[in-house]
Symmetry: C2
Subunit: 172 residues, 2 copies
DNA sequence: CGGTGATTGTTCGGGGACGAACAATCACTA
DNA sequence: TAGTGATTGTTCGTCCCCGAACAATCACCG
């Protein structure tokens, strides 16, 4: 949504479509730029560092969370990664088939499943993560080092705000 | 990746895993918060306004771009939306089956396909978009109005920077 | 004209993503 | 200790998403 068209062009066209309705263009810009950025960064990281190891973005996130906190319960991985448990089940199976993680039923609580990295999985992360972090640096490149923390904080505020709204409404 | 664990906890664990390797934690925070925010916002919008109309996020983006610029070529929709042409083909078929858009081969260039909204599609967007924009306002809520443009601009800088990198490397 | 190379949208295969329904397990109380 | 309600991970169906291979079309130059 930040393609060949100018922001001014888009605003003019939008107001034409909606007549006199008052719109918050700043909020529109935040949303659209947020998604453009996330999409672009995700595609870039998948094609540069991740593709070499046959890894998807979500697969990498699961591996990363597990790497840091193993042994870890699946519900916690989903929480940290920000996706549903249904999604996690599939991704976890893929990672298990590739020999990077193991599943193990919890002794203490028969409902829980504990996830660990295999030696292969750990070796790959040790090699992969520095490359990944280097790319992350390039991505934040155009932003003043001083402003990066400010940016991260604003994004965090948006996240907690939205998740708060989702957790108060759904209890239907 | 901004779940129950503290940022300090995570940093300590990461540095333990990687020994003495120097990492850019600010860049890490930007990336992870970017994705958490995008995920949270997307899920929220899909569940609140979009689900009522049986619309996915991408479906909405396609409809929105078409609504503003119709008639529009498919390659331009993909460019504006930030996804691949293969993805667009599927989504477009879904939207067409639901009766919201039409495909039409270009007279001038037989390779191109022009997309337009049906009357139903236009009616839905006229009703839907104000609701959508209201939710966008809530999402940006915790950010100072003055800082929203700053946030949008930083995200835009990241996007153009990453896309520039992708367009200079690939020509293999 | 005819041929070469580029561009466009579709198809295909594999994986990701979610909500809803489900069986297994647990906690808690009577 | 039996029973009720909540929690967890999986399955299922449906759609999204991409890269690679493909056929149709076009632009350009000889």
């Amino acid at each position: 949504m930040a393609g060949p068209f100018t922001l001014a062009e888009t605003e003019r066209q939008v107001s034409e479509r909606l007549g006199g309705l008052p719109l918050d263009y700043a909020a529109m810009a935040v949303t659209s730029n947020l998604f453009r950025a996330a999409n672009a960064v995700r595609n870039h990281l998948e094609r540069s560092v991740l593709a070499q190891h046959n890894l998807s973005w979500t697969g990498f996130v699961v591996l990363w969370v597990t790497w840091i906190w193993e042994p870890i319960e699946t519900r916690q991985i989903a929480l940290e990664g920000g996706f549903s448990k249904a999604t996690l089940t599939g991704v976890l199976t893929t990672l298990q088939d590739r020999g990077w993680v193991t599943r193990e039923r919890s002794q203490a609580d028969g409902r829980l499943v504990l996830v660990r990295l295999t030696d292969d999985g750990r070796a790959m992360m040790t090699e992969l993560f520095p490359e990944f972090n280097l790319e992350e640096q390039h991505i934040s490149g155009p932003i003043d080092v001083a402003r990066r923390e400010e940016l991260a904080e604003m994004l965090r505020l948006i996240t907690v705000n939205v998740e708060k709204a989702d957790s108060t409404i759904p209890p239907a």
